[in-house]
């Protein structure tokens, strides 16, 4: 089984301090592992594909989405949630093929596919009988 260790976050924030004012949120993720690799699904509403950055380095997968302000010239009457950037980092100790990582952002849902390196894919061994 692969181990995905999430960096410990305090108060739901786990990013270096930004130079720009504004909140940063930790997006929610689903993670599924199958024989081919890992599939990560993350909720990042408000992020346009061109404002999303996905990096994989030193076994760390970093997802950073910037959210453009949407309510200029309007007054907030009542708020139940805040709007801000998204940041999340996973340590992926599974051997993945970094060149083949695919990312797709559709209606605010990020789908990341991390294929396993060929060497560690489970192989079915044919059993011969004579």
């Amino acid at each position: 089984m692969s181990q995905l260790v999430e960096k410990k976050c305090e108060e739901n924030l786990c990013t270096a301090e930004t130079t720009r004012n504004g909140a940063t949120y930790t997006p929610r993720f689903d993670i599924v592992e199958n024989d081919d690799g890992l599939v990560l699904l993350g909720d990042m509403p408000g992020v346009a594909p061109e404002d999303l950055e996905v990096r994989f380095e030193n076994e760390h997968l970093i997802v950073h989405g910037k959210v453009a302000p949407r309510h200029e010239g309007r007054e907030l009457v009542f708020g139940e949630y805040g709007v801000g950037d998204y940041y999340r980092e996973f340590r992926v100790s599974e051997a993945v093929d970094a060149d083949k990582i695919a990312a797709e952002l559709k209606s605010g849902v990020l789908t990341l596919r991390l294929p396993k390196a060929e060497a560690i894919k489970p192989k079915r061994i044919e059993v011969k009988s004579d």
Partner: protein
């Protein structure tokens, strides 16, 4: 299901009202438990914005299409929002994390002022739903000209 009543933030009266509001929201956020004792927070969270002509109700609904939503306006200022967030189709595997939630949701919101129900528009962009509700003519702010003689 909770009906949410908006209280204006900057009402002169609202120091006390705001306190109740905060409390209600705190309880709202804690959610209630369903019959099986499972935690059921209010979903989706909603922000209400306004300008001179419109209210803008916004909710974060990633992965939800407009056709999965039912939006109704009734009784001048009641907005109801119903919909389903479908479980994604993922090939079989072992789930390591399951932080996102799926299923049906419904909310009823009372807007602070009457709106023009015929001209309500809804759009979804990058998983954010925005419902624009034009204020009824009587509810719009009017600028009073001050004459000097």
């Amino acid at each position: 299901m909770f009906a949410t009543r908006w209280q204006p933030f900057n009402d002169v009266w609202s120091e006390m009202g705001r306190f109740y509001d905060e409390m209600n929201r705190a309880f709202d956020r804690m959610g209630y438990r369903d019959r099986l004792g499972r935690f059921a927070p209010t979903f989706p969270a909603v922000d209400l914005w306004q300008d001179d002509d419109n209210f803008h109700v916004e909710a974060e609904l990633p992965g939800v299409a407009l056709e999965d939503l039912e939006i109704h306006v009734s009784g001048e200022n009641q907005l109801s929002l119903k919909g389903t967030r479908k479980v994604p189709e993922i090939e079989e595997g072992t789930w390591h994390r399951r932080e996102r939630s799926y299923g049906e949701f419904a909310r009823i919101l009372s807007l602070p002022q009457p709106v023009d129900a015929d001209k309500v528009q809804a759009t979804i962009r990058h998983g954010v739903l925005t419902i624009t509700l034009p204020k009824a003519a009587a509810a719009k702010p009017r600028r009073i000209e001050v004459k000097i003689d």
